[in-house]
Amino acid sequence: MLSFILRRLLLLLPVLLLVSIISFSLFCLAPGDPAEILLTGPMGTADPATVQEFRHKAGFDDPPQIQYLRWLSRAVRGDLGYSYITGEKVLDEILHSFRSTLRLALASLVISFMISVPIGIMSAVKRESMFDCLGMALALLGVSVPNFWLAYLLIIAFALRLDILPVAGYGSNGDFEHLILPALTLGISAAAITSRVMRASMLEALSQDYILAARARGLHERSVVLGHALRNALLPVITVVGLNFTYLLNGSPVVETIFAWPGIGNLMTYSIYDRDYPVILGCMLFLAVLFLALNLLVDICYYYLNPRLRHEAEH
């Protein structure tokens, strides 16, 4: 187990290095002088002599590779620099906003599972029935609907027409009622993907010999489906959680901006509007590292839960 984790961690190193190179290369391609933006903000003008002095002092006139190495050595120690706009530490801003995103993602994940697991199971059990066709047609529609449009449909229905939920905002501390609409938007979109994976996974489980054996033993259909098939079909759900999390995070810039939810998507979007390059760069690096770690975690879970993989690795 330990050697498996160590091997995977070693394989991650070149990828992490490339991630940092790609991120920093994009940063270097950005127009505008960072020293000038830092001294005056993106719109202002500064005294050229002061800018020159600052540029030299901060190392902005060093060759890009030197700047990269300096940035990388700081990033490894958790120092992602300071925001051009707020002057706050980038990592603090990212961690603060990521907490809100995580809250939203978890709520969306629950909604997504509440919708997709029953639809996936029923579609598989009643394969090629009216329910199956309708469920899968809805799933296909779900992946085709833009989430920002869905967000506004929900706003029009629940906030403007029925007036039972707030249009946007975070409330005093991410109140439950403020969480419902953004979580519903992301949850419905994610459920479209999960229900298809759940259906395929259930179908695979239902086609196994042990299901035939269970039926031959005269077990009740409910116990065959829930007791035997579902337990085995849930293994790919670990991957689905990872997949869902990716999907939810990808929806966050648009949905968080619409609902004024102070998460990492919102932070990224406003940093682009403000040309706050260190924050954009920090978000890129943070999310890539997070994703790689998440994938590693999924692999470890898979390895741990699937005895065949363990057996293959040991022999």
């Binding site: 529609l141 706003i155 999310l287």
Partner: protein, 275 residues
């Protein structure tokens, strides 16, 4: 899954044909100039002259939607075309030649895949600036990795095949083998991915334009039309609703077609989804 039956596929082809026709004949179909602002006609309700009403600058929403087809198809097809070319070239090189070249290319692919796709696209736009070209570039950088992985895996599965050994023993060059023997084997699955990719690219572009980072006004594009509609959603919801329907139908058509093609051309994934 028997969802994308013949009927679904035919419906998708019909919708896409209508969209292509609409894009080609936009100048004749649209009743008004999509970019001409007429403040005296702002936020007009739908009537015979303005079938879907007017926006906050008095521009005909119907005409803007018709011209928006051009932009969406251009972005969707353009992004997929360039991503596929890049992916086929790099994935083919990695799979066929193997060794250090394969390792290097695949690690670059892994690095690009490490970023959540929309955040990578946003970062590219954030550093290089908004606009159509940078938006397309950002989407290409997101999408090419999928093609590279697909092509590499197919070529790896074909390597060692007797038809390749025969070509090699006849003295065929690597370039000839790649072009004449491997590319035709790769194309069906690339076509499936590309068809689905057009829908994703249109959706991605609309999201970026909705955030004001893609196509810039006054060019008519569905995502940016919805961005314009945000302050007026309470009084004039149709400004938001109609472009959304257009995006959904277009993406759905490409998804349906992609699923249909997958069932025909890619039996392996069909077996997996249709157990």
């Amino acid at each position: 899954m028997k969802l994308s039956t013949d009927r679904g596929c035919k419906l998708a082809i019909l919708i896409i044909a209508c969209l292509v026709l609409g894009a080609l004949l936009a100048g004749w179909i649209a009743p008004h100039d999509p970019e001409k602002a007429m403040p005296e006609l702002r936020l007009k309700s739908p009537d015979w002259e303005y079938p879907l009403g007017t926006d906050h600058l008095g521009r005909c929403i119907f005409s803007r939607m018709i011209f928006g087809i051009r932009m969406s198809l251009l972005i969707g097809v353009g992004v997929v075309l360039f991503s596929a070319i890049l992916g086929i070239f790099l994935g083919g090189t990695a799979g066929y030649f193997g060794g250090i070249l394969d390792e290097t290319i695949m690690r670059v692919v892994d690095a690009f895949l490490a970023f959540p796709s929309i955040f990578l696209a946003l970062a590219v736009i954030g550093f290089l600036g908004s606009g159509l070209t940078n938006m397309m570039l950002s989407l290409i950088l997101v999408e090419w990795t999928g093609y590279a992985r697909l092509v590499r895996s197919i070529i790896l599965s074909l390597k060692g095949g007797e038809f390749l050994e025969a070509a090699m023993s006849l003295g065929a060059s690597d370039q000839y083998i790649l072009r004449k023997h491997l590319l035709p084997n790769v194309m069906p699955q690339v076509l499936v991915m590309a068809t689905l990719g057009v829908g994703y690219a249109i959706l991605g572009a609309a999201s970026l334009s909705f955030l004001g980072l893609g196509v810039q006004p006054p060019t008519p594009e569905w995502g940016s039309m919805m961005n314009d509609a945000r302050p007026f959603v309470r009084a004039e919801p149709q400004m938001m609703i109609f472009p959304g329907i257009a995006i959904t139908i277009t993406v759905l058509a490409f998804n349906l077609l992609g699923e249909g093609l997958r069932e025909r051309l890619d039996p392996r994934s069909n077996i997996k989804m249709d157990l």
